[in-house]
Symmetry: C2
Subunit: 337 residues, 2 copies
């Protein structure tokens, strides 16, 4: 099997604001694997605050040698090899994982969700992200979220109540709150959550910094709303530590190293009695289509990543009826434009 890759810059439709800062582009690395005339597509999306760059990804991918692998492909063996090439590099590993899964599904002639025995009927509604901004910017974002049945509002800035009030001036659909570790004090976090629980909020994602599981467990014991882990749970090995600290976990391909591990995380989280959310970064329809294949296993979906960029080089999973639905093509169901 051959592998090739090239950098790509995702251009955001709007500056993306969250508690850690604001930006207008996201660096990505596109990956292709090819064997027996079939090409599998993958993607690494690398928001700067996670530490990977086009350079680190290219460096990692240069070390990947798949020439020893031929058909029939044992995905698990190949993914173990990729994971062992170097520590970290989670997004770059994800790009290879997606490409391998895409190739695998294409070779089998079926979308991945079918190979996994899943049904589209259990795909949950996806949320549209409302970034931190002024009252007018928030109102505009909410008004643009036509067709969405749930919103994900970024908090952890200077004006959290104002954000929610701005949303509620426009709509009464359910809100999910994502704090991105932005709250620093558990007592005021609790008071905010108590207030949020009166505003039609479903759950709160990553309220406190990831290095404070004790405070988060304290908060969870008192919170009227479920708490969902994001930054606190990156890979499968982090999951047992989230037990008793969070009610659920936001699983993202770019964190988990890909579909293989994300699938295992969803299964394990459910076994532990935790809620499962499937999320994404700003990504093209390549990675979002891959995540959509897993989404029948999720309680909550937040797969608006490709809707936030204006230079999507793929078509695939699409927004319909409030949900992001996989395309019917084989593999990840994405097509290079």
């Amino acid at each position: 099997m051959n592998i090739r890759f090239y950098p790509y810059t995702l251009e955001l439709k709007r500056p993306f604001a969250l508690s850690a800062g604001s930006r207008t582009t996201t660096p990505a690395m596109m990956v292709e694997v090819e064997l027996e005339g079939t090409v599998g597509y993958g993607e690494a999306s690398m928001p700067p605050y996670l530490g990977e760059t086009a350079e680190t990804a290219a460096n990692f991918l240069s070390k990947i040698d798949l020439t020893a692998y031929s058909s029939p492909v044992a995905l698990e063996t190949m993914l173990r090899y990729v994971d062992g090439v170097a520590p970290g590099n989670n997004a770059a590993k994800t790009a290879v994982d997606i490409a391998l899964h895409d190739w695998f599904g294409k070779k089998r002639g079926a979308p991945l969700y079918r190979l996994w025995g899943l049904s589209l009927s259990t795909i949950p509604a996806t949320s549209m992200t409302i970034g931190i901004g002024t009252r007018e910017a928030v109102r505009r974002s909410v008004e643009d979220a036509v067709g969405f049945n749930v919103l994900k509002v970024k908090l952890g800035g200077e004006n959290d109540r104002g954000m929610i009030e701005s949303v509620r001036e426009v709509t009464d659909i359910p809100i999910r709150v994502d704090v991105n570790q932005g709250w620093k004090d558990r007592e005021s976090a609790l008071r905010m959550i108590e207030w949020l629980s009166t505003k039609g909020v479903e759950f709160v994602e990553q309220p406190l910094p990831k290095d404070r599981p004790g405070d988060t467990a304290w908060l969870r014991a008192r919170s009227p709303l479920p708490l969902i882990a994001d930054e606190s749970v990156v890979r499968l090995a982090d999951l047992p530590r989230a037990l008793g600290v969070f009610d659920g976990v936001n699983i993202k391909l770019m964190k988990s190293t890909g579909l293989g591990e994300a699938y295992r995380m969803m299964t394990a989280a459910r076994a532990l009695g935790m809620k499962v959310m499937v999320g994404c970064m700003t990504e093209t329809s390549c990675a979002v289509s891959a995540a959509a294949q897993l989404s029948p296993l999720a309680d909550y979906a937040d797969l608006d990543g490709a809707l936030l960029i204006r230079n999507d080089p793929f078509t695939g999973a699409a927004f319909a009826g409030g949900r992001i639905m996989p395309a019917e093509g084989p593999g990840i169901g994405a097509t290079r434009l």
Copy 2:
């Protein structure tokens, strides 16, 4: 999709002795599903002490109506339906699960392990079971275990030390000990395990009754050998309770309700840092072939079930090089003789 079933009595080559008693047959129920000319085979093996019988299985299976399901089949949806038809009936549910997976793999033209992306190279050695018996019977059983690189010795009877000593008179290959809840006192269990650890024993399965997790955790904290759960962990929901009580879990299709849940249990157990064993009852090559498809995910295998019966109506997974290897046919890789 259509379903049919018929009872079958497994005739054991030798009376099967364990701490709960002895028997010469095991009742089974064979299941077939058919759609678009493809037949999937499944099996329920029902050791009497687990409570299911040919009657309860027939009663349960009579309620299963698959006529609403057609291609493409969403296995997960169908398995959820089957599980919801009635509580319990785990072996009968397993029979349907195996048949559905066999049909699914045949339709996809590949053995299940390939569809799961697994590699045969990670299949562990399988053990041969040595039942409780006289010194002569034990020696004969051990001498018959030609080609096996590990033995599973049943303890919990009147003469545990004698059993081990009888084995050690004949061979020095590794032993796994299965107590089947047969020890009643944690202090004497600890002394026995300490002695076993000097006799080339790898681990101890289900030393104490399943209703004594506190005593088992006490034992584990002091045991020089890992403790593996069998009766204490039946389905996925039991797994989190085994954390801190056992070091690993013996996952059997007939307990778990089938390949779908067993796969999830293996994934979840590994996520929890537990060792994974794949086991079986006395079964035909139908159910053993199904379990063999999962065995690349296991640390330990105990898949000698079909080798213990003399009227196996299937051929499939076979013993080779100390391991039970799946046949290369599609689905579970079993063929009706």
